[in-house]
């Protein structure tokens, strides 16, 4: 009897361990399904904003890096 109990307990613990990721995935999916997703119009707006920002900052940054090229050429 006691042995059976032990077995059951051990089994339930393993089950719990296996359940944790399942529970996690379930919670995550539930959350995702409740989420508000962007529509096409909103999405294009976001992508454009981020794209312009990234490219603008990148070009300014790359301009500085271009300064390196002649300096490197002079000193190496």
């Amino acid at each position: 009897m006691a042995k059976g109990n032990e077995k059951k307990e051990a089994g339930s613990q393993i089950e719990k361990l296996a359940d944790a990721p399942m529970e996690f995935v379930k919670d995550g999916r539930q959350f995702l399904s409740k989420c508000k997703k962007p529509d096409v119009k909103e999405y294009t707006k976001i992508v454009r904003a981020v794209g312009i920002g990234f490219v603008a900052v990148g070009i300014i940054g790359y301009a500085i890096k271009l300064v390196h090229i002649p300096i490197r050429y002079l000193i190496v």
Binding site: P38, Y43, H68
Partner: protein, 489 residues
């Protein structure tokens, strides 16, 4: 010793550690833009080749090549370690303090100051240790003279010191939000442009043929170059291994678009005012509640592991495949005369250099690396959301202060209701970001995928704060008017 705390280590250093002054008055919006951009540009300018490196052929190559994208680090320049020491010391010490391994009472001004100085000191120490690891590993050439070692130390630690201070300028309110993150985003954006449109010519083979760094420029050049056929140029533009190629650029752009899409996922909780009737609104909880920080943290851990391995393999065992350490940990193989690629056990945590070679040569990497990214990312997300001051409890307190409550809930149960949402949002967001990173890295992006994920996610967090700042300043910005883009923010 009883009563001696870790933060007390910083005490004797307090008088000599430089501190940026906080401005007495509010820094105007335009000044913030200027300070932020200047900090970023100075950092970029700091990616300047180190002097006093030996000119002979070096055997030891770059062991961290796939980790550099996340920390704005450039090999063999002043920013050899980039922002890694600052970010890692900030994240790790905050985690330790939040989990009560370091006792700090954040309510006391004195303790906060000590903690902050400790973070700075720890970052500086990391710069020093890393610099010497790299110097003595032979990465800058073997048989360096004492003068060279001294000069290299001076350059690397000095650069680290200024990186800390420059990021502190932005942190202290002269720029937007966070120094490390703004600088990081600027560097990632710059790298993206350099990888796509970069015109600098790099010698790629023994014959002295040169190719452009940027993938698009390379395509145009490859079609006209003499040593390649038209078709060969086209093919190599898409799959060259040593420099950015077009397929990489396309994947990176795809990753950016995916993160943009995920970023706008949000759960809108209906709220109403407890003071005025009929004031209904929504409070959004983002899917990416903790932004790109989870991926950053995973990469901090990954870097630490690889650095330790580098110390053991290169510094202790001299990368000798017959020594015991190399048999246990694996050794490095030089690829393209540019990279140091680890072999078996260590390669489990190294994303493959291309999808197919990875699939056939190191299939186990896929499982181990993904597991590592997912596990650390989720663990971090769970810890960070609870301690960062935007946990369910904090949001509930904030609601109470502003006289807001969730529609259909009593004020007391707001925290409980949020408790069901916020941790799930953080961990789910971290999982998805980790998955995007994993997919990108397995396609052979060598750290560019992680960099892009962090860059775009961080960019969003910053954009939000910047637009808030813009509105608070009443939309009065000469710069924004000059640029004619008030709607951009």
């Amino acid at each position: 010793m009883a009563g001696y705390r870790l933060v007390d280590i910083a005490k004797p250093f307090l008088p000599i550690l430089p501190e940026i002054e906080i401005s007495y008055e509010k820094v105007p919006f335009d000044d913030k833009i200027v300070y932020t951009i200047c900090s970023g540009l100075i950092y970029l300018f700091g990616q300047f080749p180190l002097a006093a490196i030996s000119k002979d052929e070096v055997r030891v190559q770059d062991p961290l090549y796939f980790l550099r994208g996340v920390f704005g680090a450039e090999p063999r320049t002043l920013m050899e370690f980039g922002l890694f020491p600052i970010i890692s010391s900030g994240l790790i010490l905050q985690l330790l303090a939040g989990m009560k391994f370091i006792s700090v009472n954040f309510k006391l001004q004195q303790d906060r100051e000590l903690f902050q100085s400790l973070t700075k000191l720890f970052a500086l120490l990391q710069y020093f240790v890393l610099a010497n690891i790299f110097i003595f590993s032979g990465y800058y050439g073997e048989n360096l003279s004492i003068v060279q070692i001294g000069l290299l130390n001076l350059q690397l630690v000095g650069a680290g010191f200024f990186a800390i201070l420059v990021s502190e300028i932005v942190d202290k309110g002269f720029g937007f939000a966070s120094g490390t993150m703004t600088i990081n985003t600027i560097v990632i954006a710059t790298n993206l442009i350099a990888d796509t449109f970069g015109v600098s010519q790099v010698t790629v083979d023994a014959d002295g043929h040169k190719e452009a760094q940027g993938s698009v420029i390379n395509l145009l050049q490859g079609m006209r170059s003499k040593h390649k056929t038209f078709l060969g140029g086209l093919v190599s533009a898409f799959n060259r291994d040593y420099l950015p190629n077009l397929s990489m650029t396309l994947i990176v752009l795809g990753i950016g678009a995916t993160v943009c899409y995920l970023q706008s996922f949000r759960l809108e909780l209906p709220i109403r005012s407890t003071k005025a009737r009929g004031m209904n609104n929504v409070y959004p909880i983002r899917l990416l509640h903790i932004g790109g920080l989870s991926v950053t943290f995973s990469y901090v851990l990954l870097t630490i592991i690889h650095l330790l391995a580098f110390v053991l393999i290169q510094l202790v065992a001299r990368n000798d495949p017959t020594s015991i350490i190399c048999k246990v940990l694996g050794h490095y193989e030089t690829v393209n005369n540019l990279l140091y690629v680890p072999s078996f056990p260590l390669s489990l945590l190294t994303p493959p250099r291309s999808f197919f070679s990875g699939l056939f040569q190191q299939p186990l990497t896929f499982a181990v690396y993904s597991g590592f990214m997912l596990f650390t990312g989720i663990w971090f997300a769970d810890q960070w959301q609870a301690m960062s001051g935007t946990s369910a409890r904090d949001i509930a307190a904030q609601f109470k202060e502003q006289g807001i409550t969730l529609t259909g809930r009593r004020e007391q149960s707001v925290a409980k209701e949020l408790e069901k949402v916020v941790p799930v949002a953080s961990t789910t967001g971290a999982t998805l970001l980790a998955l995007v990173t994993i997919v990108g890295e397995f396609l052979g992006l060598k750290g560019k995928a992680a960099g892009m994920v962090v860059g775009v996610a961080t960019g969003f967090s910053l954009l939000e704060l910047i637009s808030l700042d813009y509105q608070q300043s009443g939309g009065q910005s000469a710069l924004a008017q000059v640029l004619g883009a008030p709607g951009r923010f």
